[in-house]
């Protein structure tokens, strides 16, 4: 797809809800290892409620959908992930106030999202957080846009980069969030928030058929 629009955004939410449900236990186990074991349940709770809210929801722009995602995650997920994802989607929504997004639009949404996460959480790349998935994803989308690719291609590149980014957290010591209390003991474990971010971005690509 050259551009993605409101239908894609709605599909993104639905696909996200599906992968979050499917990977609920995996995310719980990742969080049990270096956190407190709630990340899968938190994300699952948020997306379950989000799905309900989608029923009869009228959106004119991609931003409308992303704003619903933002406020729902903010008010239903809790923990660290809730406000961070909430802010990411809120900033993303502001960057997406049109009916359709091309590759540059996709890249702008992702860049705004990363900025939101960083603004709230103060984490840098390499701190073993969701930033390690979002940051390369936004960069990869921007590259596709720069080289004239489609929105779908941008989303696929973002998803691939996010997956690699999530994997890249495994050898790291954490410097933010709960895993930072573990010191060296966090080494060898993937960050749950980076993994859920990769799942959400994979859902975004899937929703675009990319």
């Amino acid at each position: 797809m050259t551009t993605v629009g409101v239908d894609w955004a709605l599909d993104w939410v639905r696909c996200s809800a599906a992968v979050v449900t499917e990977h609920r236990e995996e995310l719980i186990d990742l969080d049990r290892a270096i956190g407190d074991g709630d990340h899968g349940e938190n994300m699952h709770r948020g997306y379950r409620i989000l799905l309900e809210k989608l029923d009869g929801f009228e959106a004119a722009t991609v931003g409308d959908v992303l704003k619903l995602v933002a406020t729902t995650l903010m008010s239903k997920v809790g923990g660290a992930a809730g406000p961070l994802y909430g802010t990411a989607f809120l900033r993303g929504a502001k960057a997406a106030d049109s009916a359709d997004l091309d590759a540059a639009g996709v890249a702008a949404v992702l860049a705004a999202g990363v900025e939101g996460v960083v603004a709230r959480g103060k984490a840098e790349v390499g701190d073993k957080t969701m930033v390690d998935a979002w940051h390369p994803a936004a960069a990869a989308a921007q590259e596709v846009a720069d080289s004239g690719g489609s929105a779908g291609e941008a989303l696929r590149a973002a998803a691939d980069a996010a997956r690699a980014g999530a994997e890249s957290t495994e050898p790291l010591v954490a410097r933010k969030g709960r895993a930072s209390y573990l010191g060296e003991r966090a080494i060898g474990h993937r960050d749950p928030g980076a993994q859920s971010s990769a799942l959400l971005l994979e859902a975004a690509a899937a929703a675009a058929g990319a």
Binding site: R32, G35, D36, G37, N42, P83, L182
Partner: protein, 335 residues
């Protein structure tokens, strides 16, 4: 997983419902289950600074058990081990506001800090002045630019009592914050886990701790500790917890302290007193005066077996505020 629960989804609301019913003489639950909190039965106290705390559930009696005269005005229970979202924190803040502003008592975890921050912004938009104290007393965690900083643990209980008494005697928001800051600056804690706990939704223990091993420097969310060691006699474990506290606090002979030995939820109180006994002997050998004590389950991790030690350096003001009457479900004297 063995728990006295029904559906894991209902653990928090059903428990809070029972809690409110059992203590209906002093607390009430919020009307709207979507913004779940508990607050004083009489409503906000006019002219008094309101104190609001909250965080993930699973640490009972913290925080709901400390709502009442002389301590908190409202407490917000999130899902188990998950910080509540801004909506119920805002609702609780409104319920606690008696016109003199509200102090948020926040344990230093990314989730708690972020959600309370958002709630404070929302309260500000409704013209309720909010200040926050972020409690970070856990010496198990390195406090550096390269971590999320120290966690808030046992010191939170003492801070809620002492700041609550300051608010009750009529201190204004800045003064209550100053007292809270003094407590936070003078309190240090460290914990140990003998067994892991199980989050109802996870259904599995938060980590595997084989027979014969214990986790030193544990938090209250079932996070693994800083290191795992062979099981040891209580006196040795007590030393391992106390030494970093003493070092960090820089206690001097002649200092007055409050010694708080806290159970993580699954440890018999008889064992807590064995820890208390040795910790007290150590403190007295240093020339420190243990003038106040607290021993029991006050900030827990579900059914985890283990304990934490908290030492608070006291002065005349904090001693007096500690002694002031308090009437909450979990802490009560003088009333």
């Amino acid at each position: 997983m063995k728990k006295l629960i029904n559906d894991p989804n209902d653990v928090v609301p059903e428990s809070v419902e029972g809690f409110v019913l059992a203590h209906s003489d002093i607390i009430v639950g919020s009307d709207d289950p979507e913004t779940l909190f508990v607050s004083r039965a009489g409503g906000a106290v006019s002219g008094k600074v309101g104190l609001v705390s909250g965080g993930g559930s699973g640490h009972e009696p913290l925080h709901g058990g400390f709502v009442g005269v002389g301590m908190l005005d409202a407490a917000v229970p999130g899902p188990v081990f998950t910080s509540p979202t801004p909506d119920p924190i805002l609702a609780a803040t409104k319920a606690a506001d008696g016109g003199a502003g509200v102090l948020h008592i926040v344990k230093n975890y990314t989730g708690d800090v972020l959600n309370f921050e958002t709630a404070a912004e929302l309260a500000d938009a409704e013209d309720i002045p909010v200040k926050a104290i972020v409690v970070n007393d856990d010496v198990a965690v390195e406090d550096s630019l390269y971590t999320a900083g120290r966690r808030g643990v046992g010191g939170t209980v003492l801070l809620e009592k002492i700041a609550g008494a300051a608010a009750e005697r009529g201190d204004d928001l800045d003064a209550v914050l100053a007292v809270a800051t003094k407590v936070n600056d003078n309190v240090r804690s460290m914990g140990v886990a003998l067994t892991a706990c199980t989050v109802p939704h996870a259904g599995k223990p938060s980590f595997d701790l084989p027979e014969g091993e214990i986790e030193i420097g544990i938090g209250i969310h079932g996070e693994p500790g800083r290191r795992r060691i062979k099981a040891a006699p209580a006196d040795e474990i007590t030393d391992l917890l106390l030494d970093p506290i003493l070092e960090d606090l820089g206690l001097a002979g002649g200092d007055d302290v409050l010694l708080f030995v806290n159970g993580m939820g699954g440890t018999p109180s008889s064992e807590l007193y064995i820890v208390y006994r040795h910790a007290r002997a150590r403190l007295e050998a240093l020339g420190t005066n243990v003038t106040r004590s607290l021993v029991g389950n006050y900030i827990t991790s579900l059914e985890m077996q283990g304990a934490s030690i908290t030492v608070l350096r006291l002065d005349d003001e904090t001693t007096e505020l500690w002694d002031a009457p308090v009437h909450t479900p979990a802490l009560r004297w003088g009333l």
